[in-house]
Each structure stands twice: as C-alpha cells, then as structure tokens.
C-alpha cells in the first residue's frame, strides 16, 4: 500500500540536513507552508539555501526562518517588501547571500529542473544586469540568455486537499509555485487543509499528480489564523 501521509510536521521535516537546498512555496503569504516552516525552525537545520519568490513577510513563516539565522543563501525574485525587515537586516549586515532572479526565469528554472531539462534560452533579462556573465545566443533574430535549472533537496509546499497517494488540488492564487516546486525537489513535503479518501479527488481536477509528492501532512483549517498580507509589492 502506498501511504504518503505523515502524522506530524516534525516527522515530515525531520531529515532535512544542514546545508540543504529547500524550496518553499508561496507568493507572499498565499500558499506559504507556515506550519512546515515552523517545524523546520524547531528541527534546527542550518546553512540552508532557500528558494522562494520573496524573502519573508512580517515575523512568521519564512521571515522567522531568516530571523533564526538558518539561511545562508536565498534565491528569489522580490526580496524587498514593506514587511521584509528580517531579510533587510541580514542583507545589509552581509549575513545572507542573495541570488536575484526575474520571476518568470525563477519559475521556468524550477520547472526545467522538474522536467529534466539541462538548460534553456530565455529572452527575459537579456541586456540587463541580471544576465551579466551569462551565455547568450541570437535565435531567429531574437536575443536569449542561457539559464540553468534550480533543483532542490526538499520542497515544502501548501495545497488544499490531498489523498494518501499525494495527489493535490490547490486553492485560488495560493497555487502559485506549488506544482513546479513539487516536481523539482527530491523530496516534496505538502501541508494540506484536508486529507481525503483515495478516489475522492476527481482525476480531472488533480493539479499535481502524486508521483511528484513524497509526504503529506494535514493541518486542519483555522488551526492558525492567517494574517492578511500587508501593502507590499
């Protein structure tokens, strides 16, 4: 029998080692797996490389992981927000490395990793600072930059529902990076609001097939109040 359900968030992240590359889903707080991040903080892994669109909001979730100084490097597209003070402090103190990636390149590099693509040419960023030193090529009269996949040891993501095979459906714009991160990590850990019986998810509605998922933890709704995102870009 296949059963990817793990009883606790602690058990789900117990084997993340120091120095691991960890993808964390979410766009701001929408889709951020806050309870899994809390468990990772508790677990104590350090010198992590984190892949996320942002660099934490407020004092919880990814921001709390940064505040705990567990992150050596962050790969993201938009670290500067009105409520990203923990990242700001670490960055200005030179205590965290930043790899800034245009958002679509970030998504496609993650997608490429999950799809087994060796590298790809993208027009995004050509002629800008973010393409400096990178290989370029003109194809059919248009200029492209060569970008490489971003792979991870673990992905921590959030979805709405799962079954014990790890099939996932998401909720609204909280889907964001979940499906592509699930495919790009050796071990994908998902927190869901509800685990349903095998067969209860309509196969037509499954967004992430269970083959991309290794562990599922149920975090019932209202276990934690989610603050509305602040005014931030």
């Amino acid at each position: 029998m296949i059963n990817k359900i793990v009883a606790t968030t602690a058990a789900a992240v117990a084997d993340i080692p120091d120095g691991a590359t960890v993808m964390i889903g979410g766009f701001g707080t929408a889709g951020m797996p806050s309870e899994l991040i809390d468990a990772l903080i508790e677990q104590g892994a350090k010198n992590l490389t984190i892949v996320n669109n942002n660099a934490g909001n407020g004092d919880t979730g990814l921001a709390a992981l940064l505040k705990a100084k567990r992150v050596r490097k962050i790969i993201c597209s938009f670290p500067r927000q009105t409520d990203s003070w923990h990242f700001d402090n670490l960055y200005r103190a030179g205590e965290i490395e930043l790899e800034l990636v245009p958002q679509g390149n970030l998504a496609e590099r993650i997608r490429a990793a999950g799809a087994g693509i060796g590298a790809f040419y993208t027009p995004t960023g050509f002629g800008t600072q973010l393409a400096e030193g990178k290989e370029t090529r003109r194809i059919d009269g248009r200029d492209y930059v060569l970008e490489y996949p971003i792979r991870a040891d673990f992905a921590l993501i959030k979805a709405l529902r799962a079954d014990r095979w790890g099939n996932l459906v998401y909720r609204k714009t909280a889907r964001n990076f979940g499906p592509i991160m699930a495919s790009a990590a050796k071990c994908t850990v998902v927190q869901v609001r509800e685990i349903v019986n095998l067969g209860d998810l309509d196969p037509e509605d499954v967004v992430t097939p269970g083959i991309f998922v290794q562990r599922v933890v149920e975090i019932p709704a209202a276990a934690k109040l989610v603050a509305l995102p602040g005014a931030a870009a």
Binding site: T29, Q103, G104, T128, T173, A233
Partner: protein, 219 residues
Amino acid sequence: MLKRYTREQMAARVAADIPNGAYVNLGIGLPTIVANHLPKDREIVLHTENGLLGMGPAPEAGSEDPDLINAGKQPVTSLPGASFFHHADSFAMMRGGHLDFCVLGAFQVSVTGDLANWHTGGPDAIPAVGGAMDLAIGAKRVYVMMEHLTKKGESKIVARCTYPLTGVGCVNRIFTDLAVLDVTPEGLKAIEIVPGLSFAELKQLSGVPLIDASAKAAA
C-alpha cells in the same frame, strides 16, 4: 504653471487604447488605476502574474481572502470565466507571446524604447525585480505610464537610461502627464500633447529629439 493630465486622465487615456477582447497585465503602482477606466462595453481580461486570469476589483471590506491576491499582494476577486494557474504557466503567457498588453510604470524610458523600472542602483537599495523583466519582453505591446518629469524637473524620457535596464527596446507607447509618445524606428513620435503645451515646449522639457505627429502638427 505647467498644464498636465491628472493621474485619472492618464489612466483613462491608457484604457482607451486597450481594445475589446484584450488580455492585459497592469503593473504595480500607477498602472493599477487603469482598471477603473476600462470602457464598460469592452470585455477585457486582466492577468495577474501570481496566477489568475479574469481578475476582478478589490473585495468589500470583511470578505478578503488571503488565498486570492494580486501581484501587489492586495486582496482581489475573480470574475465569472476566471482561471487559476501555476507560475510557470503564468509566465509562459507572457514570454510565449499570448498576453496582448502590459502597462508598466517606469523610472526612465529611452528614445529607442529601453525600459528602466526595477532598480535605482543605489548602494543601499535592496534589489527586487519580480515579474518586471518578463512583462517587459513578453507582452505583445508594452505601454509605459509615468510622470514625464522627475520631482526635480528632469525628463524621464532619455537618450540612454542611466538606471539599470529592465528590458532593451521593449516599450511601444509612453503615456505621460504631458503627452502620448510612440517608439518608432524613425524616433520618438509625440502623437498627443496636453492642451496648452506646444510641441516646442514638450521637446524642450523632454531634452531628446522628438517628432511631432500630434493633431496640432496635422492642423
């Protein structure tokens, strides 16, 4: 006192240039108010790069949903016909040439359509790019909406951008509080000028070569 279009007039002017049936991404800041001016008789689908087509207006107070936000992380609504998708699909919509228009703010635009809108390059500034570079090269037509002059009175339309570039030669049309300008192979054409301002004055304020293609020139 310089004659200027108000922000609402600028937004209405941009909206007038978005046709029925268009798929459009409105950037953060000034461009977001274009949504309030889209003609009611046109069906226009708004894209937000965090994963929604068919974005509606902000919800009423009390019915915000933290899972339903726009690229500025503000609560929004979804309209009948809306769809959700993941990030790789969302950016394929831009990069793959499916999105008809984007409207972006800018620090500077060059006469050849180079765009600078993501980073001031200041030594203490934390760089953040988001989807700006993808939008700049991805949408079929890129509109820029910005004040014509900085607070110090310097032209934001320049011979060559001094701020770090977002995209090379990517801008098609510029809507400012003084004029509407098209980037063309012949150069920058002023197609409209705010009433009360002459082409000569616009050119003087802009500090770059301009071609007068406004109704005033035709008259």
